[in-house]
């Protein structure tokens, strides 16, 4: 099963689609969680996910905003999507009767 940060990375990459690369994923995670996401944590976790076959990365082109330096582009693999879905469904199932989930349901209704 994925770890919390691994799930965040896969979800950010899947959400960003073709524009998924290091800096964009960091911003997405920071804005969603409100917590800092260090470059060290990001790239070492990406390496781990790539070694597990859950994402694929390659060097993209540089842009003027980056001083012409390359990006590390990220794409979620089928196994990555399956692992993220499994994590999400597990969280939903286990949270079903939790007080905070009940409150959320009530608000939604």
């Amino acid at each position: 099963m994925l770890g919390e940060f691994e799930y965040l990375l896969i979800t950010a990459a899947a959400t960003l689609g073709e524009n998924a690369y290091g800096a964009a994923m960091r911003e997405a995670i920071v804005s969603a969680t409100g917590r800092n996401c260090s470059i060290g944590a990001l790239y070492t976790t990406l390496d781990r996910l790539e070694a597990k076959g859950l994402v694929r990365t390659w060097m993209g082109e540089g842009t003027p905003q980056r001083g012409g330096r390359s990006k590390r582009m990220v794409c979620v693999t089928r196994n990555g999507t399956a692992a993220a879905r499994s994590f999400y469904e597990t969280m939903i199932r286990i949270s079903d009767r939790a007080p905070w989930a009940a409150q959320r349901k009530a608000r939604a209704e």
Binding site: I39, G40, Y43, T44, M59, R69, S70
Partner: protein, 241 residues
């Protein structure tokens, strides 16, 4: 980011692989991090990468396993050789009248090949076994040197005589860094010469038993000589699958 701060960040990033350096510095520019934040981010990434490298046995063999003890022992050999050279060539007139003179010259003849071969092989091995952690390996070599240099006091010998071993060691490091390799027969011949000389010194009571560790680098080289050493290095650094 100021120019000075940016240079410091780039200096820190030298520890990363070229591709990762490019990506990480590009991310910092894109997200307009300050120099301080950039330094924190890059040093965090460097630290994590170093920690990952130290999960392997290779950095442990190179730094505390070989660089630190070999520096200490080779300094002992450097000092002993300097003393013997001083005795035989500077004070030669006094010794030539002694009937035991030629016999006493033998330790010098045995120590010199040990110093040259073991220093060169140690330099070669520590660089090739774990190139990515070579900075730590250098520190493990320099620390005992500094300690001994500060404590060394001898009337007739300069302090730098302790560092004789550094010349062949640096040559070994440079040879490895340029991608040099050695044929197995040469590597075995060097290891045999070093072992024979050390055995001769041990028989005459001129060898501390811990000095036997010095034959590890030549024999490591002999066992993994030629292509296999280069392949192992490249695999360790992720250049090859």
């Amino acid at each position: 980011m100021t120019n000075f701060g940016w240079r410091l960040v780039e200096l820190l990033a030298v520890q990363l692989s070229p591709a990762e350096r490019e990506v990480a510095l590009g991310d910092l520019i894109e997200t307009r991090e300050t120099a301080w934040q950039g330094m924190r981010e890059i040093s965090g990434l460097v630290f994590r990468r170093q920690c990952q490298l130290w999960k392997s046995w290779r950095p442990w063999l190179a730094a505390p396993g070989l660089a630190f003890p070999c520096s200490l022992m080779l300094m002992g050999f450097s000092f002993a050789i300097s003393m013997e050279v001083h005795n035989y060539f500077v004070l030669g007139g006094r010794l030539s009248s002694s009937p035991t003179g030629p016999v006493e010259a033998l330790p010098l003849l045995y120590r010199l090949p040990v110093l040259l071969i073991c220093s060169w092989a140690a330099g070669f091995v520590v660089e090739s076994v774990s190139r990515s952690t070579f900075v730590v390996t250098q520190v493990c070599c320099i620390l005992p040197c500094m300690f001994c240099l500060m404590r060394f006091h001898h009337e007739s010998l300069p302090r730098l005589c302790l560092l004789l071993f550094l010349f062949p060691a640096i040559a070994g490091v440079r040879f490895s860094h340029r991608g040099g390799s050695m044929s197995r027969s040469w590597a075995i011949a060097l290891a045999l010469i070093a072992t024979t000389c050390m055995a001769a010194l041990a028989v005459r009571g001129h060898l501390w038993f811990l000095n036997w560790e010095l034959i590890v680098p030549p024999w490591y080289l002999a066992i993994l000589s030629g292509r296999s050493v280069r392949l192992a290095t490249l695999q360790n650094e992720g250049t090859l699958p």
